[in-house]
């Protein structure tokens, strides 16, 4: 059964908390505390209400879809098999162009890297479920890097496109939350570029002829992760 301290911690964190019924039934003080927290929560919700200004959508740039190849009209059944294969490849290209946002240009590699984090916010989940070794091996070919879970649990692995090139995008669980890693063997940078935000901190590091981007929470110890990732990279050796 919960004690008063545990119960009050829970109910103050979430006034809709409905556990601890056993404790609540025998503790009048916690019943009063619960009622106080629920009343306070109603007032907080009212105090947070704001007048919403009208929606004013800014001028939106045209997304260049010139690279999107329109599909040909359905072919007659008499077309040879190679035509079906070609159409499938073309469809994949169209989907690929749309998914990866080709045609959107960025001022710098840092801008594109940060925008990519916005593209895939669901990658930045706090979780303790690692990706499988098979998945990791599929996304990170052995000639690019040989990552393992030593720098932190790898919980996301996806092939993404940065600056028109396919790169492995990994997320590991750091000490202060998820840390994004982009392995960019073909993206040359002259010197390390620090990405310094209010809530995030990161770096794009030159590694051989390519680079790696590592971005985490502001308080994260990225240096430890950097060392591990650089050691795992194969293209610089």
């Amino acid at each position: 059964m919960m004690n008063c301290e545990d119960y009050r911690h829970q109910i103050a964190a979430d006034p809709t908390f409905d556990g601890g019924a056993g404790h609540l039934s025998v503790c009048a003080e916690c019943q009063a505390f619960r009622a106080e927290m629920q009343s306070l929560n109603v007032k907080i919700a009212k105090a947070m209400q704001l007048d919403i200004p009208d929606l004013n959508i800014p001028e939106l740039p045209t997304i260049d879809q010139a690279n999107v190849v329109p599909l040909a009209a359905r072919a007659p059944l008499s077309k040879p098999a190679w035509f079906a294969v070609a159409a499938t490849v073309m469809l994949a290209a169209v989907i690929g162009f749309r998914m990866f946002g080709f045609g959107v240009s960025y001022d710098s590699l840092a801008d594109e890297v940060l925008a990519h984090l916005d593209h895939e916010p669901y990658a930045l989940r706090v979780t303790d479920t690692p990706v499988t070794d098979e998945r990791l091996a599929k996304v990170v070919p052995a000639d690019i890097a040989q990552p393992d879970h030593s720098a932190g649990l790898v919980t996301y692995a996806q092939s993404c496109v940065i600056n028109g090139k396919k790169v492995p995008h990994l997320v590991i669980q750091g000490e202060r939350g998820p840390v994004t890693i982009l392995l960019m063997p073909e993206e040359t940078v002259g010197m390390a570029e620090v990405l310094d935000g209010e809530n995030i901190r990161g770096v794009i590091l030159p590694v051989g002829a390519g680079s790696i981007a590592i971005i985490g929470a502001r308080e994260e110890n990225l240096e430890r992760i950097e060392k591990s990732v650089v050691n795992s990279v194969m293209w610089s050796t």
Binding site: A12, I44, Q49, I52, I57, L117, L124, V126, N199
Partner: protein, 171 residues
């Protein structure tokens, strides 16, 4: 489908999403920045970024966390660019004061000021929970925190507000 038709479909999808979620974007931005004018700037930037990234949103049902994540990053970038990280409650700009001035009565005005004065670390999860209806797990995912840390921040935030209300009642 030709490119102009695809572009029109894309625009319709965008309008549909942001029309529904604009109030949440604005409220979140306003309570993050504590400034109505900055919130409007942040929302404008977030709308632009969302437009450019729309094709990456695979499921419209996930649009709310996707847009709020973009608002969060744009707010961080705004303050990074301008280095305006602290607010002096006794020396507010007109736009900051306007946020406090909207309370319907004196009791709520005092509570709103207390929320305004909470540290960002406490105010943000409270806004996500109370205004956005997020669970503590979802708050942890958005803020990159373990659930235990979220619970602790929410607990401390409410105790601070409770103390503040009690003080106001005594005075």
């Amino acid at each position: 489908m030709n490119s102009s038709s695809a572009e029109a479909d894309r625009r319709r999808r965008f309008d549909r999403i942001v029309t529904v979620l604009h109030p949440d974007m604005y409220r979140y931005a306003a309570w993050l920045s504590r400034d109505k004018a900055i919130a409007e700037d942040v929302v404008q930037e977030a709308l632009l970024r969302a437009w450019k990234s729309l094709d990456a949103l695979r499921d419209d049902d996930a649009a709310k966390p996707w847009l709020l994540t973009i608002v969060r990053r744009e707010n961080a970038r705004y303050f990074e660019r301008r280095r305006l990280e602290t607010v002096d409650i006794d020396n507010l700009t007109a736009s900051q004061a306007a946020l406090l001035a909207e309370a319907p009565n004196e009791e709520l005005a005092e509570l709103r000021e207390a929320i305004f004065e909470l540290d960002d670390d406490y105010r943000e999860p409270l806004v996500l929970q109370v205004l956005m209806g997020y669970s503590t797990t979802e708050i942890g995912e958005l803020m990159g925190l373990k659930q235990g840390a979220v619970l602790t921040r929410l607990h401390r935030a409410r105790l601070k507000l409770k103390d503040n209300v009690a003080q106001e009642e005594r005075s």
